[in-house]
């Protein structure tokens, strides 16, 4: 086995939650998992920074959570099903977070979905994205 080439790294706008990311992001996802409990959500809201210090996060990971940089969290090893729990804690729906991650407004994103979603044409490779 070599891990020289990860073909999926060429998919644009996508952070594949693979073994390497999950290793890096264990703390991020462990933190998100605690938000399943209301008492933990309260403790987190009361002092976000202190609460986050329990999870062995890197400074970059901690910053991405405090600033709600949803894409950055994924890049640093968070997984969407886990970060969705932080979104829920903030009162955001799945679709609202998705809109934020794409840089669209809520309305633009909802309209795009109703019109059939983002077309795969032009969205398959990084080369296609760099032409835009």
């Amino acid at each position: 086995m070599t891990d020289a080439k990860k073909e999926y790294d060429d998919i644009p706008g996508t952070f594949v939650f693979d073994q390497e990311r999950s290793r890096q992001g264990y703390g991020v996802n462990a933190f998100c998992m605690t938000l399943m409990k209301d008492e933990n959500r309260k403790a987190f809201r009361a002092n976000e920074s202190a609460y986050l210090d329990q999870f062995g996060l890197t400074p970059e990971q901690k910053e991405s959570i405090l600033k709600r940089q949803w894409n950055r969290m994924l890049e640093l090893g968070g997984n969407i099903y886990f970060t969705a729990k932080l979104a829920a804690t903030d009162g955001l729906s799945f679709q609202q977070v998705a809109a934020i991650m794409t840089g669209a407004t809520q309305q633009e994103y909802a309209d795009m979905m109703l019109a059939g979603g983002r077309n795969p044409n032009g969205n398959r490779s990084k080369a296609e994205w760099s032409k835009k």
Binding site: E7, Y8, I11, P12, G13, T14, F15, V16, F17, D18, Q19, S22, Y26, N29, A30, C32, M33, L35, M36, N71, L74, N79, I80, Y81, F82, A84, K85, A88, T89, F94, Q95, A98, A99, M101, T102, G103, Y109, M112, M113, L114, G116, G117, R118, N119, P120, N123, R124, S125
Partner: protein, 281 residues
């Protein structure tokens, strides 16, 4: 002898569950989705399976990153609905079939599929939404359910081929169970969707329809499809569709298409649904 009578495929979008739980099924957005499952309920009523094996995935509800089983078979007597952040869904507790589940575990492990046995597990929308779509919202689910949770969250999930082969092993297990039982197997998740990153919102109806055709006809091409193709063509989370191959593997090579439905979108996701029966011999 027990036998597998049908494979039932459907998306398991959480927003569908929320629409049911919040009484929004009559809104135009949602009638479009639910209209595709009216005929389904008649078919299921007629089929009256004694047990359903539901292949689905957990979404960071029962399994955190502490333990990530690739295939986990629910052998418990019951599976309570999980709290996914808004309280547990107001649906009946899912009753298991511990005896058949134990038999399947025993059989497929000796058949070289190294399953994880789970005796305590909560089940999230991935399992309960398809039950609603097939059976509506009864006070109790009409039959026992054996959950088979597949990891599709942490890359890599099992390959399509592995999923298909496991389905074949599950069929051998079911057919070696002495009691006469009609078993339906559900493949859930998908279809095309991406809910993460700047490319979120991706939908690929062409891919989805070809995938449904592959399931209903000759599945050899979709069985061989590499993960990267699912992710590139059907969105990062579209990889969930590998789970449908477990259900397809439990069927005959030749199947009859009983029913099909497809619509876009439900929230961020393309909704696909298919019911297959073994071709009459």
């Amino acid at each position: 002898m027990a036998k597998i009578v049908a494979a039932v495929f459907s998306s398991h979008v959480p927003a569908i569950g929320a629409a049911i739980d919040n009484g929004k099924t009559q809104e135009p957005y949602w009638t479009r989705v639910f209209s595709g499952f009216v005929e389904t309920k008649r078919i299921m009523e007629e089929m009256k399976p004694d047990v359903c094996i539901v292949v689905y995935n957990d979404h960071a509800s029962a399994f955190s990153m502490d333990v990530v089983p690739t295939f986990a078979l629910g052998c418990a007597a019951e599976f309570p609905p999980a709290d996914e952040g808004w309280g547990p869904r107001p649906v009946p507790v899912v009753k298991g079939h511990p005896k058949l589940a134990a038999h399947i575990a025993q059989s497929v492990i000796l058949d070289e599929f190294d399953l994880t046995v789970v005796n305590k597990m909560e089940v999230d929308h991935g399992l309960t939404v398809p039950l609603n779509l097939m059976f509506g919202s009864p006070k109790e689910w009409p039959c026992p359910v054996i959950p088979l949770a597949v990891n599709v969250v942490l890359f890599p999930p099992p390959t399509g081929k592995r999923c298909f082969n496991l389905g074949q092993a599950i069929r051998r297990a079911v057919e070696s169970y002495p009691e006469d039982l009609k078993v339906a197997i559900f493949g859930t998740g998908g279809m095309s969707h991406q809910i993460s990153g700047p490319r979120a919102g991706l939908i690929n109806s062409t891919f989805d329809k070809a995938f449904l055709d592959g399931l209903a006809g000759d599945p050899s091409k979709i069985i061989a499809m590499p993960h990267v193709e699912y992710m590139r063509e059907a969105g990062a989370e579209g990889i969930e569709m590998v789970m449908w191959l477990v259900a397809r593997g439990a069927m005959d090579a030749k199947v009859d298409e009983k029913y099909r439905f497809y619509t876009v979108p439900a929230s961020n996701t393309a909704v696909g649904h298919l019911i297959l029966e073994n071709a009459a011999r």
